[in-house]
């Protein structure tokens, strides 16, 4: 018995799922872009602002203590949720993008030399490419793309073959946001470790869908973003080995990240605070804590099981659509589907599906190199979450057929 058996009750906890779009019930299939929020998250944010609003780690008054307690509790919750070794390993950021830039600026850049290599797969999100390009351009290092296959899977041996004595970091997405592929990150982490190369795993699309255990993965850095994890916008985390955080110089400077400031010299605080200067997104992280509580109550294993069912239904359905080409056919995959349709442009499909109430994304999904690899400028992407239903899959198929008739 899982709470997910009563899916109507679960959906009722997500107010936006009740919205009408052009008079039709919303079918939200854009979860890989951002997730909807349960009432518990929305309420946690509101109640911070109506009852506990104060700055953190500064004031000794009741409100300040309450805000600090709630904010730091969110760190404990996230640490446990992803299996971090300790709460000090969890640095709060604005999202995955900032997490990766933090690693680029504070971990890699200070020692990067001409000829050094940063190895990432060809299916990375721009967030796991551009930060490395920026520091590479500055230092003369280079970003090396690891091959992927026609089925949209990582060429594991190909990636490992590219690891060499110049490789300074290996970056890989846990789940591809464009293709849905679940990568065998353990194998890449192990191969990197065997060569003494630190690894960074982009968990943006993994954490919302199945149980993640950072300590078991034993990667050096794991990054994720809160808004895809049913939490507020402007939240995310870098989970890093403590030894790295201790050794890394600060990224940004300001209040809270210091122990003592003077014009003769400044000393820094301990991690994670060393990397969290200034007033953080307090309400956002309190909301993220509420999202994690909610996910724990429902159970990540139940969520993963339901999504596997939805994935299989959707895959069957899409395979039955004439003239539809799935981009990516990985065996290990999430309920994320990119496709193109003969004679119809992705944007037209997305706009016209929206007229039927169906929200999907069209475009390059911030993965230009992946699109280039598959020779398509853009795809339509339908990405599902546990709160989606088989009825919604049926509604999507009906809408897609109608849209194609219009464009034919």
């Amino acid at each position: 018995m899982s709470q997910l058996d009563d899916i109507a009750a679960i959906r009722a906890e997500f107010p936006q799922l009740a919205r009408l779009i052009h008079g039709k019930p919303l079918v939200y299939f854009d979860n890989a872009n951002t997730a909807q929020k349960p009432r518990a998250v929305i309420d946690a944010v509101s109640s911070y602002y109506t009852e506990h609003n104060a700055n953190v780690a500064r004031a000794v008054h009741t409100l300040g203590e309450e805000a600090t307690t709630l904010y730091e509790a969110a760190r404990d919750k996230l640490a446990r949720f992803v299996g971090a070794r300790s709460r000090e390993e969890v640095v709060f950021t604005r999202g995955t993008t900032e997490s990766i830039n933090l690693v680029a600026y504070s971990f890699l850049r200070p020692t990067l030399k001409p000829g050094d290599e940063i190895l990432v797969s060809r299916m990375e999100h721009h967030a796991n490419i551009v930060p490395w390009q920026l520091i590479a351009a500055e230092t003369g290092a280079k970003v090396v793309p690891a091959p992927i296959t026609e089925t949209g899977e990582l060429d594991v041996d190909g990636m490992i073959a590219l690891m060499n004595e110049r490789t300074r970091l290996v970056g890989l997405t846990h789940v591809s946001n464009a293709l849905g592929t679940i990568n065998p990150v353990e194998r890449i982490i192990a191969a990197a470790k065997a060569r003494g190369v630190p690894s960074l795993i982009d968990g943006s699309q993994a954490a919302p869908h199945f149980r993640v255990d950072v300590a078991a993965l034993d990667c050096d850095f794991y990054v994720l973003t809160g808004h895809k994890l049913f939490g507020p916008t402007g939240t995310g985390a870098l989970i890093a080995k403590r030894a790295h955080l201790d050794a890394m110089p600060p990224f940004m400077g300001g209040g809270e990240m210091i122990r003592k400031v003077s014009f003769d010299g400044t000393t820094f605080n301990d991690p994670p605070h060393k990397f969290e200067p200034g007033t953080p997104n307090i309400a956002g992280f309190i909301g993220l804590g509420a999202a994690i509580d909610w996910l724990n109550a429902v159970g990540m294993d139940a969520i993963a099981a339901r999504e596997t069912m939805l994935r299989d239904r959707m895959l069957d359905a899409l395979r039955g659509v004439d003239g539809l080409r799935l981009i990516g056919a990985a065996r290990e995959r999430a309920a994320v589907f990119s496709f193109v349709v003969e004679g119809a442009h992705a944007h037209d499909i997305a706009t016209l599906l929206d007229h039927e109430g169906v929200a999907v994304r069209s475009g390059h999904h911030c993965t230009h190199p992946t699109m280039q690899f598959f020779g398509v400028p853009a795809t339509v992407r339908a990405s599902l979450s546990f709160y989606n239903t088989e009825d919604e899959i049926a509604a999507f198929l009906t809408a897609l057929a109608k849209v194609r008739r219009m464009l034919a």
């Binding site: 779009i21 052009h22 442009h345 992705a346 944007h347 037209d348 706009t351 016209l352 929206d354 007229h355 069209s362 475009g363 390059h364 230009h368 699109m371 400028p377 853009a378 219009m406 464009l407 034919a408």
Partner: protein, 139 residues
């Protein structure tokens, strides 16, 4: 915030998309221009044959969505024997229409609904930008 959806993909737009005018490569073109849409990766190439300050013929090529295709089809039609200032003038009229100031002339009024779809406005501007790029002094 969105108006009635059907008017964006009107029969006019869909018809142009199904059978666009002036689609292909202009063999004796004097000018070529390219415009890209970062959001979807679309590329549209416009080729012109110009004599002096007059555009004699315009054709377009490229993979593009129905909005871009229909707009390119209309624009290339309007550019036959048109002064070189026409693309800029029409583009300004389109932008004014998106702001809700006034309707654009002729068939372009079919894109009025885009005022409620800011994310798609760039699609309709792509052919104009390609034309302007074509006439840009090159070297």
């Amino acid at each position: 915030m969105s108006a009635h959806p059907s008017t964006l993909y009107s029969e006019t737009v869909l018809a142009h998309n199904r059978a666009p005018h002036n689609c292909g490569c202009l063999a004796d073109a004097t000018h070529h221009g390219l415009a890209e849409n970062a959001l979807c990766g679309d590329r549209l190439e416009l080729s012109l044959r110009m004599r002096g300050d007059t555009i004699e013929v315009a054709m377009f090529d490229g993979e593009s969505c129905a909005i871009t295709t229909a707009c390119a089809s209309m624009l290339t039609g309007m550019l036959r024997d048109a002064p070189r200032t026409t693309p800029a003038t029409l583009r300004a009229a389109m932008v004014a229409m998106f702001r809700g100031d006034a309707d654009a002339p002729g068939e372009f009024a079919a894109f009025a609904e885009l005022r409620h779809h800011p994310a798609r406005q760039r699609c309709a501007l792509l052919p104009f930008d390609a034309a302007l790029a074509a006439m840009q002094p090159k070297e």
